[in-house]
């Protein structure tokens, strides 16, 4: 009695096309699960980073030195002071925050008021997180202008 013929051992060659189809189906499903997992991890990391950058905006919003006690209202005279840049870097140290950043406080009233702090060279093609928040700029004699604080962050270490 032959132990195998055209069907191979136990009819293996008859089952081969079916097995290949099953392999394709399982591979496709595993690939979709891997994609979903990577998207989930990426989303969590992205939200964490956005939260970290938003907390920087919150710190600036209530900083006594820059706002003269009025949360969210930056004093133009203080921003024009050359020590303000080093002050911002001292309270928002990239080593403590875990990322590099470019901070801009600009007047939206068409005035040429632009306070910028940049802690490093932004590499091209790297992911960045950009968060912004409305604010006010106090421009002498009680004149209050609309402004915008924008922070662009990159080089996250975690």
């Amino acid at each position: 009695m032959p132990r195998w013929g055209r069907g191979g051992v136990g009819g293996f060659t008859e089952e081969l096309p079916a097995m290949l189809v099953v392999l394709v189906a399982v591979s496709l499903f595993v690939a979709s699960l891997a994609t979903a997992h990577s998207s989930f991890v990426e989303r969590e990391r992205w939200l964490d980073r956005r939260e970290s950058v938003s907390s920087v905006l919150g710190l600036l919003w209530s900083d006594q030195e820059l706002t003269e006690g009025h949360a969210g209202m930056y004093d133009a005279m203080t921003l024009a002071d050359e020590n303000s840049t080093s002050y911002v870097v001292s309270i928002l140290s990239p080593a403590v925050l875990g990322f590099q950043y470019r901070l801009e406080i600009t007047s939206l009233d068409g005035k040429d008021l632009n306070f910028t702090v940049e802690t490093g060279q932004r590499p091209t093609g790297k992911p960045t997180v950009v968060e912004s928040s409305p604010c006010n700029i106090l421009v002498g004699q009680g004149h209050v202008e609309p402004g915008l604080v924008r922070i662009t962050a990159w080089g996250f270490v975690r």
């Binding site: 008859e14 096309p17 496709l28 979903a36 989303r43």
Partner: protein
């Protein structure tokens, strides 16, 4: 030629493939939604922005805002904050002045400031005072929007509410 058993196995495998294809499509769609969700703003972020925008808007100052009382133009001399201008408008509307009296020189200037703070969002400002007096600046409100409110005291001590709604088109 494949025998009956082989054909049956292949049929089962194809049925399994179809089920896996459907399941994979669902999982891929979920992964795509997660990616898009991460890129768009969160509801909490939108609410925080609306709150900050309202605070910033009400503190901004406007110089020489003007409205018309009948045919007479009235100029609000000097600088006044947006909050004071809105409360004054509410009092005047309550006193019988029409909304149309507060055109480009008044609501138009408030709208310019609000638009600069909105960062691409659409917005509407609603002010309401005693005796169902209210007016709004901006388009009609959609169902999905963020809101922030403050209460302020008018000149006669009555309470007024100022609410800012923002949304993305």
């Amino acid at each position: 030629m494949m025998d009956r058993r082989g054909q049956s196995a292949l049929f089962d495998a194809m049925a399994f493939l179809v089920i896996m294809l459907v399941a994979s499509t669902v999982v891929f769609a979920y992964a795509g939604a997660l990616r898009r969700d991460a890129e768009t703003s969160t509801t909490a972020g939108e609410m925080a922005h609306t709150q900050e925008m309202l605070v910033a808007l009400l503190r901004c100052t406007v110089a020489n805002a003007s409205y018309t009382d009948g045919a007479e133009p009235v100029v609000h001399s000097g600088e006044a904050s947006v909050e004071i201008l809105l409360l004054e408008e509410l009092a005047l509307v309550g006193g019988g002045l029409s909304n149309e009296s507060f055109g480009a020189g008044y609501n138009g200037r408030i709208a310019t400031i609000a638009a600069s703070l909105a960062e691409g969002r659409t917005w509407t400002l609603v002010c309401s005072g005693p005796g169902s007096v209210s007016f709004s600046v901006g388009p009609e409100l959609p169902e999905e929007r963020s809101a922030a409110s403050v209460q302020a005291a008018m000149g006669d001590g009555a309470r007024a509410g100022i609410t800012l709604y923002t949304w993305r088109e």
